[in-house]
């Protein structure tokens, strides 16, 4: 009975805290600029192709395969959670065992995935820490992001191992004919582990089984909440991010209707009953809330894999810009300012903004080539953030690099980014002739 009470309290409070965290993050994201999105069916198709189908990850087949194992492992092994929760609340043992052979098959399937997830996680740890793949060691991969990654992988290994230990000790107890451990059959992986368990005393086996059971469920409940502070939030948010990602061709930049209205009024002053923009309209993005909400969703969906940065021409040639850093900085800024925004609204002022994290040098190194957007396995758009911040610098602060200001004035005065006269536009047509007579 005590166990049931402890379990129920742990379970309910973990779920409550998890919901509290998610609702806060939801409100952070909603504090950004609104944006209406259309194209539901296409978006749904994307969920299947990109999120579930891993279409972008499979461009590297080995990594795609390993990630698919962890992804499907997560979904399939977590079905076992239903039984664990039921047993925990009602004090039963293996409440799904009535499924008979189906139960043996199901549990064996869970075990195969659990084992595969352990292997995949070990490979992932090795890629990060032994092979030291460069994108895992860039400048923005400071102690915390690297520790976060290690915690996640080690936790996954431990959670999967605990399932195998729990089942293996259970089978050993079944073999000893213990009353509380009725024979439900041998499962595939834990069955193979029997030689390690068969010689143990009954008391040790019961301890091991109980320990593994509690370790797994408490581990899962803690991990679930840890995730909301970690890059691993990606396991929930990626789906939403893929769903809400840009449908237009990547080349398209978002329009600024306020500026459009102003320029229309300027070019055609008579035209206007259109009201000038409200005084507090900010052009471009100075802080996170000036961005559109899908950009913030993107920041919370990022698992810091660094494919964007590895493909970024500016980064490849040693410039300060790293698209992953832009996305990580955005999330940091939202998390640090979120509490104040929820309390005081957008007008709050902590003397900080996105520019406390991101330098002008980074923003002006971007070639807008869209390699980062193309690479992102879950369709995060770092470029949109960079461009909105550039807009703020130019429209609100007039602080573009000198040569760009010169380019602006050329366009304004000559209609071309260079200092040439419009009259010379047709010079190229002079003395044009075919090499030989056309028939």
């Amino acid at each position: 009975m005590l166990e049931q009470i402890v379990f129920t309290i742990a379970f309910v409070s973990a779920i409550a805290f998890f919901i509290y965290r998610l609702s806060r993050i939801y409100r952070y994201i909603k504090s950004a600029k609104p944006l209406k999105l259309t194209g539901g069916r296409k978006r749904l198709a994307r969920i299947f192709r990109i999120a579930i189908g891993h279409s972008k990850l499979f461009k590297n087949p080995l990594v795609g395969f390993l990630h698919a194992i962890v992804f499907w492992g997560f979904i399939i092994v977590n079905i076992e959670m239903l039984e664990i929760i039921f047993d925990g609340i009602f004090g039963t043992h293996r409440s799904l065992a009535f499924l008979g052979n189906g139960y043996t098959i199901l549990l064996s399937l869970f075990e195969i995935f659990a084992f595969a997830v352990i292997i995949a996680s070990v490979v992932f740890l090795a890629r990060r820490n032994i092979v030291k793949i460069r994108r895992f060691w860039n400048r923005e991969m400071t102690t915390w992001p690297r520790t976060d990654a290690t915690i996640i992988l080690v936790t996954e290994i431990l959670l999967m191992a605990s399932i195998l230990v729990m089942n293996a000790s259970d089978i050993a107890l079944q073999a000893k004919g213990h009353a509380h451990y009725p024979a439900v059959g041998t499962f595939l992986v834990s069955g193979l582990m029997q030689p390690w368990f068969a010689g143990m005393s009954e008391a040790n086996l019961i301890f091991l089984e109980r320990f593994a059971w509690w370790f797994h469920i408490i581990g899962v409940l803690l991990f679930m909440n840890y995730i909301t502070f970690s890059k691993h939030l990606h396991i929930f948010f990626s789906f939403f991010n893929v769903y809400f990602s840009k449908l237009a061709p990547l080349g398209k930049m978002r329009n600024m209707p306020d500026i459009n209205r102003e320029v229309k009024l300027m070019l055609n002053p008579g035209a206007g009953n259109s009201a000038p923009p409200a005084e507090d309209t900010r052009f471009g993005a100075k802080d996170a809330t000036d961005l559109h909400w899908p950009n913030l969703l993107g920041a919370f969906s990022c698992t810091e894999c660094g494919r964007c940065t590895a493909a970024c021409p500016a980064h490849i040639t040693g410039k300060k810009l790293s698209p992953r850093k832009i996305v990580m900085d955005l999330r940091d800024r939202v998390e640090n300012s979120g509490a104040a925004i929820l309390k005081q609204g957008k007008a709050f002022d902590d003397k900080k903004d996105l520019f406390s994290h991101i330098t002008h040098q980074e923003l002006w190194a971007c070639t807008t080539c869209n390699a980062c957007v193309e690479e992102c396995p879950v369709n995060i758009d770092p470029l949109a953030v960079i461009l909105e911040m550039r807009r703020f610098l130019v429209l609100e602060q007039g602080s573009a690099p000198g040569p760009l200001n010169a380019m602006f004035s050329n366009i304004e005065n000559n209609g071309a980014p260079w200092q040439y006269a419009a009259d010379d536009r047709t010079n190229w047509t002079e003395n044009l002739s075919f090499k030989k007579q056309q028939s």
Binding site: P249, L250, G251, K252, M253, N255, M256, I259, N260, E262, V263, F283, G284, A311, P313, A314, I316, T317, G318, K319, K320, Q361, A365, T367, T368, C369, N370, A371, E374, R390, R391, F392, L393, V394, L395, A400, P401, P403, L404, M407, F408, I411, E412, G415, A416, P417, W418, Y420, A422, D424, R425, T426, N427, W428, T429, L432, S433, F434, K435, Q437
Partner: protein, 264 residues
């Protein structure tokens, strides 16, 4: 052989005679002013004239689309250029635009519509491919170009608009062996000029982007680096020069290669 000088039709002249051509050929600022890219403009124009395409240019009335301004954050200037251009294009009742610049292509196709400018927009590589597919350009010669070609994908055609094949198809039709760079198609490395970089010094780093890309192109041992964007061309041509490869490696536009092939 002295050939008669060709006349390039201009929109205003046609409009004065109440004619509106099927296509507007949007030359773009680089196509009009950049000495190297003017050769591409001329080559493509010769193909248009050879095909007796019903087209005209805006000539002295053409203005920057506003693309470099927009990418560099100056939305105000972009909107001024865009709205002015749209007014002109709509006054001429333009329906189809051919551009020889992926940046102009992208902005007409994706960004002008919500400002009131709706056109069918065709990049010149797409146009050339169409003409080949429709048999309007005869490729009946047995001569093949004696060269190995590699093609550099411009970002605003490739990733920006999913157009990877037209240029490659044109090259294929010419029967020239084509080799791919390590990073190509959606993985292609930018030339380094986009997003306003063309008009400024690179930010501090270890290397110029165009050198990185040129080195990659040179690794293929191709002797022609084909491109289809004025900014890529400026970058790659510089890269070849800095690598001291001007003698053995040329950077040419798809339109130039085809015009040469057709001996125009």
């Amino acid at each position: 052989m002295n050939n008669p000088s060709l006349k390039v039709p201009v929109m205003a002249d046609l409009a004065a005679r109440e004619k509106s051509p099927e296509y507007l050929f949007w030359v773009g600022c680089a196509g009009a002013y950049d000495d190297r890219y003017k050769k591409v403009t001329r080559a493509f124009t010769k193909i248009l004239l050879h095909l007796q395409t019903d087209f005209a240019i805006l000539g002295k009335e053409e203005r920057c689309t506003g693309d470099p301004a927009r990418r560099a954050g100056n939305e105000m200037l972009f909107q001024m250029m865009a709205l002015t251009n749209i007014e002109l294009l709509n006054a001429y009742r333009v329906k189809k635009i051919i551009t020889i610049c992926p940046h102009c292509f992208n902005i007409f196709k994706n960004e002008y519509p919500e400002l009131g400018g709706n056109y069918e927009v065709i990049h010149h590589t797409q146009f050339l491919r169409q003409m080949l597919d429709q048999g309007k350009i005869k490729m009946d010669k047995n001569t093949t170009v004696d060269a190995l070609i590699t093609y550099h994908d411009p970002c605003y055609l490739g990733r920006g608009n999913q157009e990877y094949d037209s240029a490659r198809e044109v090259l294929k039709k010419m029967g020239t062996p084509v080799t791919e760079m390590k990073r190509s198609r959606e993985k292609a490395l930018c030339c380094g000029a986009g997003g306003g970089q063309m008009f400024k010094e690179a930010e501090e780093g270890d290397k110029e982007v165009f050198m990185e890309r040129t080195e990659e192109a040179l690794q293929t041992r191709a002797n022609i680096i084909a491109s289809s964007c004025p900014f890529c061309m400026a970058m790659l041509t510089d890269g070849i020069k800095y690598k001291d490869k001007e003698e053995s490696v040329k950077n040419q536009d798809i339109a130039e290669l085809l015009a040469n092939y057709l001996e125009l």
